[in-house]
Assembly symmetry: C2
Homo-oligomer: 174 residues x 2
């Protein structure tokens, strides 16, 4: 799916010098590119006998909500700490400096439900591991992980071993 | 559209005592309710000869991205300060204590483009006014504002006078 790369803008030195940021706003702003990405993610999600889609705040919401609407599936959300109003469960994950916490509502997943996690990009995989743990603590099943981009110079494959990870584009250097 | 209210969970005392929070995660998790809301927002957006949809971070992304996919329209995003990687323009808006800043990319809107703003809820209208100003600074036209909920005990109608504001549900007290 390298043709998708032409819809993505590379912004050098964001958020800090030496880092190349893959800007998806140019993809979202082009219905041809956005639909091309959604079509492929939809195929994957259909293939996984998915019962629920979990979107990760906040670019995961953009893909996840459109996919849930297309597939007529319940859409649930994982948010940063303190944003969800009802009873929640939380998992910490490592940032470059310190940790952050991801939350879902405690009633978001029922035992045995097959949930696909949707996000924009896989880097270290830390957020996705936290999302998997949250689903599994509620006794749901992680049916798959669907992202647009895999930054394959990070060792996320080890971290996510055992999960069905799907991404449409990879970049092998910053 | 009061039938939509049954999909929304009221959470008392969030984010602080005395405030009633309208939790939309139960709507998103029910494809019947979510589609009912999207259908009505879609009707409004079609009626406004819309050329672009602007979603406001982050619940506006959930409605806006699904609507852009349905309507085959470009989807652009307004985010909190410091999140967008490319050249941006910003507008401050008042919070209960202090101010916050909303940004869009400087190339997100072209002169003359008709943009509908999508968000989940209208309270004071401060964020929406900032979004209108951002579109207008780029010489776009605010073709309308589409939200799910209007908290009509706030005086947002005055603040947004002159804009075509559409919401599906209203609540008249906290």
């Amino acid at each position: 799916m390298d043709e998708l790369k032409k819809y993505i803008r590379s912004v050098p030195d964001f958020p800090k010098p030496g880092v190349n940021f893959y800007d998806l706003t140019t993809l979202f702003a082009d219905p041809v590119g956005f639909k091309m990405a959604l079509d492929k993610m939809e195929d994957f999600i259909r293939s996984r006998k998915t019962e629920k889609i979990l979107g990760i705040e906040s670019r995961g919401f953009i893909f996840g909500a459109a996919l849930a609407d297309r597939l007529n599936l319940p859409f649930i959300v994982a948010r940063k700490k303190g944003k969800l109003p009802y009873k929640t469960i939380a998992e910490d994950y490592a940032l470059e400096y310190g940790t952050a916490s991801l939350e879902i509502h405690a009633d978001a997943v029922s035992p045995g439900e097959r949930v696909v996690i949707v996000d924009d990009l896989i880097a270290t995989g830390g957020t996705l591991v936290a999302a998997c743990k949250l689903i599994e603590r509620l006794k749901g099943e992680v049916a798959g992980i669907a992202c647009l981009i895999g930054l394959v110079f990070f060792p996320f494959a080890d971290k996510l071993a055992g999960y069905d990870v799907n991404y449409l584009i990879s970049y092998d250097s910053e």
